[in-house]
């Protein structure tokens, strides 16, 4: 396991544990945790808070605990109902090879990296938007080694995880598994390191704003 330096924040982990994070961000979280035991353990702690709240939920009902139909539940089990849902949320076995993407992410791509349907967005950069609920969006970015991602600021929050290669901006370096969380006030110029092309997964709750005029014109067509 490579050394991950930039982790998820407590706020993000709490939102993921509570189930209120937009799907696009949850995908970045699930991808990171698939690569990072430290954050997997931290998530376990936030899940444990949920457990204590579930355990004490009777305190909030003023003694009026709702009944649940036991017989109907047995019939459900007998009928095999719940199987489908259970399969969907069942933990997925991680593939043997370390070079492949986490299965959590492959489920959204419909395969590994070679299945990604890339679209050029200029300057050699390619992207592929993944389908999630509309409250936020998430896309894969392919940045050729040594290339700068166009100078950009941010509306809202953007969360990026490196899957391959690395990038640097004016402040830090981000390698595989590292998560960068950018907010409104960050204007930076990420540059992919020399060597391997950089592939990232980036979620945002607002469209990126590019500073160059041409890019601003192109933006509506590029869906970014």
């Amino acid at each position: 396991m490579n050394e991950i330096k930039h982790h998820l924040t407590d706020k993000i982990l709490l939102g993921y544990a509570a189930g209120t994070l937009p799907e696009a961000f949850s995908l970045v979280v699930a991808t990171h945790i698939s690569m990072c035991d430290e954050c997997r353990a931290r998530l376990g702690a936030f899940d444990a808070i949920g457990g204590t709240l579930l355990e004490s939920s009777d305190d909030l009902m003023d003694g009026n605990m709702p009944a649940v139909d036991f017989d109907a539940t047995l019939e459900r089990i007998e009928a095999g109902s719940g199987d489908e849902e259970a399969e969907k949320s069942a933990p997925i076995e991680a593939p043997e090879s370390a070079s492949t993407l986490p299965v959590a992410l492959q489920n959204y791509i419909g395969g590994d990296l070679d299945a990604v349907k890339w679209r050029p967005v200029g300057m050699g950069v390619r992207q592929a938007i993944l389908k999630t609920s509309r409250s936020a969006s998430v896309r894969l970015l392919h940045i050729p080694a040594g290339t700068a991602v166009p100078d950009h600021g941010h509306h809202g929050t953007e969360m990026t995880i490196v899957l391959q290669g690395a990038f640097r901006d004016e402040f830090d370096r981000f390698g595989p598994g590292d998560v960068e969380i950018a907010t409104e006030d960050l204007e930076h110029t990420p540059v992919a390191e020399e060597g391997v092309d950089c592939i990232c997964l980036a979620a945002t709750d607002a469209p990126l704003k590019f500073n160059g005029l041409l890019q601003r014109i192109a933006q509506p067509f590029l869906k970014i």
Partner: protein, 217 residues
């Protein structure tokens, strides 16, 4: 799978299930928080119940799990904004999932309540928000067939300490956290929480993960 014989039986005829097990809990005034007899080791009681379901598809164990947790799951869902019908549907579904997925529970990493919470949360996202829930890849080497008993005990005790520490948080902060977990706050409304008593339980889980990697490699 449950046998047909069981389904034809009245649940209250099942061994180990108290006759009041399927009565509407609302009718029982002064509902006791812990239904577990005092001589039972409460730290690992539910872990043993789930182990019985996993190992021998023990129906009495499932009935006990149901009696304790099904109303709590439903209450949690109602507090999360589900109407009564959806909460009932969802709670049944969660309980059915527990029966089928008992083998996936790892007591060295979570309490039974925590495990049930995660399943209920995921169903809530499915049903209320109609969204998919991306889940981290499960560890290929876990759960271990026989998790270390001391590890399990320590984790379960750590959970009890967490519950106590949560109860001691300032009222205002506790209510905020409840709201966050019941989905009453959007993510942007959630403030960075400081002073949450999470350090020790995180360290236990981290240790369990390292041990799993070590043992199973």
């Amino acid at each position: 799978m449950l046998t047909g014989a069981l389904l034809n039986e009245k649940p209250d005829a099942m061994p180990g299930l108290a006759p009041h097990g399927v009565q509407p809990e609302g009718k029982r005034k002064g509902f006791q928080r812990r239904k577990v007899p005092a001589d039972v080791n409460t730290d690992t009681h539910w872990v043993e119940i789930v182990a019985r379901i996993r190992q021998s598809q023990d129906q009495a164990a499932f009935a006990e799990l149901f009696q304790h947790f099904a109303p709590r799951v439903k209450a949690f869902l109602i507090k999360s904004g589900a109407d009564a019908g959806m909460a009932e549907e969802c709670a049944q579904d969660v309980m059915a999932t527990l029966w089928r997925k008992a083998h996936l529970f790892d007591p060295s990493r979570a309490s039974v309540a925590t495990w049930i919470f995660t399943i209920a949360r995921n169903r809530r996202i499915d049903m209320l928000r109609k969204e998919r829930r991306p889940e981290p890849d499960e560890l290929t080497w876990g759960p271990a067939p026989e998790p270390d008993a001391a590890d399990v005990m320590e984790l379960q005790q750590e959970n009890n300490r967490l519950a106590e520490a949560m109860a001691e948080l300032p009222e205002k902060q506790r209510v905020l956290i409840q709201k966050a977990y019941f989905g009453d706050l959007s993510h942007s409304e959630i403030a960075e929480q400081t002073g949450l008593p999470l350090g020790t339980i995180k360290s236990r889980i981290r240790l369990a993960l390292e041990r799993l990697r070590h043992v199973m490699k």
